[in-house]
Symmetry: C2
Subunit: 238 residues, 2 copies
DNA sequence: GAGTGGTCTAGACCACATT
DNA sequence: ATGTGGTCTAGACCACTCA
């Protein structure tokens, strides 16, 4: 729909299909502007998206160098749902909804977020299986002021699809925290933990476009199957 | 030096000092343009930096909402050195250089990066102490084609300061991978591991502006002291 | 010197939220 | 209807790289 977004997608695809191979230079901004019949600033917006997602590296005076996506493959970071992760890779996965009920918010969360102690939340507990093994235990709390209820089959397929498309919620940003914690009885009960004593826990606070908190999640991962990949750029002196 | 960067730093500071308190709106882009005597596009570049670093949330038709930095404090992610992390928080820390020598590249790295097997590297091993305890074991390999040698006191204080300022190297981006691995004899020997069986390992491939690989690092963290915080934005349909 | 990306401008029109 | 941010333009000048 937006010009710069279309150009981004087009260039991205051409890079992925090796039409612009790794190590080569993209056409200059001026050339691209002529090729797509847009202004240079519009090209620059598209290139910025490519830069941020790790497809190119720019050099003043030289040009835009295409990076090696083979090498930098699967950078999986940011605010991405389990479903989207699986779609990106071809992995056979399965979600089992253990719990989907309304309750009052746990006290430690009410305190942490300065929310009334009688706040109602939807409490979801889900198991994530990959190749038949239970790898992840997800515990979600959704504020009931914002979502009244979630159909269990939506929780099974993709919660974010449902919230964004059916409920028209605009998920905007999140604070994520990665820590390692000793296992609980619940972990031991639901996951195939062998002799593990710890799990990796990813705690996320998710906010809407209007800055309202609407979700808190603890995603508990089996140690030996946890992997998080990130593409990072150096920010020179903010 | 750049106008938009100066404006970013100014607005950032005013937000941190609660001149623009959390939940309030910044002046409109048109107003800001007049206040700083610049064009609106320049203001928009500054606001984009604020948006990306989690200081504001924009809403079309409404304005730029200041976010609660108390709540979203210490988002520590991206490509940041140990020194910079410590500077951001007031923690007493110490670095001990265990090794600083030239050797041929380990075979698994030569294969992984398609580098000649006789490539020379600088091999650094460093311990990171926080409050007197050894928390992190850092193993660095720097390609000798790019840096000939590193003074041990530079490795002790800040490697990145030295590389960027003394050596004029432009560090641009990295691929980072977070996994959990069983401990090695080396881990056991140097860190106070108690009964831990695993460590968190952050593996980083660091690249220069001209896209040359120049550093590979394994940062091995004690489980109970590992914490990684990230501010993430939802990317709607790339 | 020619070509590249980086910054900045002044203006236009659109989409959205509020009154 | 007004004001907000989102997109796009055409042009200017600067900083940098490379032949």
């Amino acid at each position: 729909m937006n010009k710069f977004h279309e150009i981004f997608r087009d260039l991205k695809q051409r890079i992925e299909q090796r039409e612009y191979p790794a190590g080569s230079l993209l056409p200059s901004e001026l050339n691209l502007a002529q090729m797509y019949s847009v202004s240079r600033e519009t090209i620059r917006k598209a290139l910025r998206l490519l830069l941020e997602s790790g497809y190119i590296q720019k050099q003043q005076g030289k040009g835009s160098i295409v990076l090696d996506i083979q090498r930098l493959q699967f950078p999986v970071s940011g605010l991405t749902s389990f479903k989207e992760l699986q779609d990106g890779q071809q992995i056979n996965s399965e979600t089992i909804v253990l719990q989907n009920k309304v309750e009052t918010i746990p006290r430690y969360l009410a305190e942490r977020f300065h929310i009334p102690e009688d706040q109602q939340v939807i409490s979801l507990v889900r198991l994530r299986k990959i190749s038949g093994e239970v790898i992840i235990l997800d515990k979600d709390y959704l504020l009931r002021d914002i979502v009244e209820s979630v159909p269990t089959d939506a929780a099974e397929i993709s919660l974010y699809d449902y919230l964004e498309q059916e409920r028209q919620l605009n998920i905007a940003y999140a604070k994520k925290e990665f820590v390692v914690e000793p296992i609980t009885e619940e972990d031991k009960h639901y996951m195939n933990l062998k002799n593990d004593t710890h799990v990796v826990v990813v705690k996320s606070e998710v906010y809407l476009e209007d800055t309202r908190l609407f979700q808190y999640t603890e995603s508990r991962h089996r140690l030996d199957r946890f992997k998080f990949v990130e593409f990072a750029r150096r920010k020179h002196s903010l």
